[in-house]
Amino acid sequence: MPRLIRNRQIVTGDRWVFQDADASLPQGAVDLVLPLDQYAEQREQLRESHQGRLGLVVDGTVTDDEIAPLLDELALVAIDFPSFTDGRGYSLARQLRQIHGYRGELRAVGNVLRDQLAYMERVGFDSFLLEAGRDTADALKAFGEFSAYYQNAPLDQLPRLRRRQQMRAA
């Protein structure tokens, strides 16, 4: 069963390749995702000769400042949740979207489960790689559970009272 959800749709045939730690860089137009240390180490080479798109995978121990200088060249940032109860990734996602204006794909990976998807979407994730063995179709239901919120959507900047008026009218 496909495990990837992007923009609330099940995706088959994801083009992103997550690079193994000690493998050599693949040739050709591959969309490649690298861990931060490896990316930093090979950044010059990647920028010069890599033909595909570039992505980064990090976990909640990384600060936004470490990623910020790279964001312009990244088409995907994957944030790893070692456990679904480890909430650091939510804050990192918001920092990337809100403070640093990152507009590329933001993907949740790791211990990603149905009951956290809506929260993840509200902080700015737009794609989700569900943990293996989970029911992806069932997980899609998570996005329809709420229509009312007390916080703005990730990219909205409506003043509080105006947002409420819109919500009430909806």
């Binding site: 679904f84 509200r122 902080v123 003043p159």
Partner: protein, 553 residues
């Protein structure tokens, strides 16, 4: 009080439907125990020693009569006919069945209530001053700000998986009745020299295993920035708080490790990016809209005081209740009246369904249909005409709610203890009962004056023993229940952590030990001096000597 609009109702209804589905999936084996745990906790549901425990949120302690009736209905239909009010102004039920919880939440939603974020590693119910809006020493009514914070924090997507629980308290008065110095964040409303309203922000206070008094990281935050600043604090905590050890995961540990100054600098850095965001900025209209919900009720003018004076002169029992259980009010002709939930023989904070129904009626008759929960596990009717106090007292007496002991030795704060709790090392409710039996002379207790006695059944300190004038902590000694005593704590403006007296005493000796401490105080007291003042003047030694003296002394 705040009234839900269609949007608030929608959110609560959707939350009920979501939890109903989560419960169904758990019972069907689709969700594992570990996956379900944080979901049920964030809906107030614990699995306890004997049964699940459901904690229902009472935002900053405010209840309407219809809400209190619903709490009574839940106690009667889903529980054993009673509920337990907590130090965080909530209520908990000790005997609901897991499969009934979605129905309980649906019933609560009918009266605009919920159990969201009463447990779990998220922002908990915001607590405040039970005298908000009626206290004579108020700088600004904290309730509109509490509600703004409640909405900001409710289902906040970024802060629902924090390192640990997170508690915010707001005080709007000069006298701190909300224990702001022992909360993860304490907010004190203040005015600057120009008369503008701001917030003094404290972080890193807390009780539990490592009690800490909070530190000020910002002396004057303009109120318009309240939410953006809170968001910045929470973000720093969420990113940097420890997650490797749950006993070191509270914000106080982070603040201590970083130092309050460095912590404040990190908050400022995050805040710079957030402070002008429109959705986190409180416009004047946001505040005025919210203030509209907390207007003073329609007070009567020219209330006669003669009937009260006559009743006080003619009825000694009433006069005793009046002195202990009522406090002054900013509106002439009114007083605020405490409803003691500390009757002898009743677990502190417990109330039966029948009492809830009765008090809902009483509140409608005497106090504009509003009831408040205090953090000392009593209730309060905030707006009572002085010429109706005697009639109110008679009604309360008839329901067993008129015990004249508020603020005295027998007005104990007490956790559920070994009788209900998984974590407890020792009983607390039964010890409270023993203490009530030992000190059953009301006149004597009244002569002792203000005395805060708090008891916790383990070092997690739900009974706030650290900040009691006399604190009692249950410990386990090779399978036997022992109790450690502390003196001199306070959660008021002069906040302090109690000093340990010495070795713990066995359960049977707690009332006797307390008697010795009280006798020491009575001997050393100067005039009408309060216990805490005497203690601060004479120190630990005289108490220690008397308590641990060998039998011949």
């Amino acid at each position: 009080m705040y009234l839900y609009d269609s949007h608030d109702r929608q959110l609560v209804d959707e939350r009920v439907a979501q939890f109903r589905d989560q419960t169904r999936r758990y019972l069907a084996g689709e969700l594992s125990e570990d996956e379900f745990r944080p979901l049920r906790l964030m809906n107030g549901l614990y699995i306890q020693r004997l049964a699940p425990m459901l904690r229902v949120s009472i935002p900053y302690g405010l209840l309407s009569s219809s809400q209190l009736r619903m709490l009574g209905h839940i106690a009667r239909h889903y529980d054993h006919g009673y509920g337990h009010f907590t130090t965080r102004q909530n209520i908990q039920y000790n005997w609901p069945a897991l499969e009934h919880v979605p129905d309980i939440l649906a019933d609560l939603a009918k009266v605009d209530m919920h159990a969201m974020q009463t447990s779990g590693n998220c922002i908990r119910n915001v607590t405040s001053d039970h005298l908000a809006g009626v206290a004579a020493d108020e700088v600004e009514d904290p309730r509109p700000y509490c509600e703004l914070i409640r909405q900001w924090a409710t289902l906040h997507p970024e802060f629902s998986y924090l390192p640990r629980k997170f508690k915010i308290a707001v005080s709007g008065s000069q006298r701190d009745r909300a224990a702001t110095q022992v909360h993860d964040i304490g907010l004190q409303l203040v005015r600057n020299a120009q008369g503008e309203l701001g917030v003094e922000v404290l972080v890193g206070g807390g009780l539990g295993r490592t009690p800490v008094i909070g530190e000020v990281i910002r002396e004057f935050l303009p109120v318009r920035h309240l939410l953006s600043y809170l968001e910045a604090i929470l973000r720093v905590y969420n990113l940097h708080g420890r997650r490797d050890n749950k006993h070191k995961a509270r914000i106080k540990i982070l603040v201590r490790a970083m130092g309050a100054k460095e912590f404040g600098a990190r908050v400022d850095r995050e805040w710079t990016a957030l402070r002008e965001r429109p959705e986190l900025t409180l416009a004047d209209t946001d505040v005025s809209y919210m203030k509209g919900f907390f207007q003073a009720p329609d007070y009567a003018a020219g209330v006669e005081t003669a009937p009260l004076d006559a009743a006080l002169a003619n009825d000694a029992a009433f006069a005793r209740w009046f002195r202990r259980n009522t406090v002054e009010h900013r509106q002439p002709g009114y007083r605020a009246a405490f409803v003691s939930l500390k009757a002898p023989g009743v677990a502190p904070g417990d109330m039966t369904a029948d009492q809830m129904d009765a008090l809902a009626d009483i509140a409608e008759g005497f106090s504009f249909g509003e009831i408040r929960v205090t953090h000392t596990q009593n209730l309060l009717l905030a707006d009572v005409r002085v010429d109706e106090l005697h009639a109110l007292w008679k009604r309360l007496e008839a329901e067993g709610l008129g015990t004249p002991n508020v603020g005295t030795l027998t007005d104990m704060i007490c956790c559920p203890g070994l009788a209900f709790c998984n974590l407890a090392n020792a009983g607390s409710i039964d010890v409270a009962e023993d203490i009530n039996r030992e000190f059953d002379d009301l006149d004597y207790i009244h002569d002792l004056g203000d005395l805060r006695l708090n008891m916790s059944g383990c070092m997690n300190a739900c009974g706030h023993h650290h900040v009691a004038h006399i604190g009692i902590l249950g410990v386990d000694k090779k399978g036997a229940e022992f109790y450690q005593l502390t003196l001199g704590g306070s959660s008021a403006n002069d906040a302090a952590l109690g000093d340990r007296l010495g070795p713990a005493v066995p359960k049977s000796e707690v009332p006797g030990a307390l008697r010795k401490l009280i006798n020491t105080y009575v001997d050393l007291r100067e005039g009408e001096e309060a216990f805490l003042d005497t203690y601060r003047r004479v120190g630990l030694e005289p108490f220690k000597e008397r308590l641990y003296a060998t039998a011949h002394s």
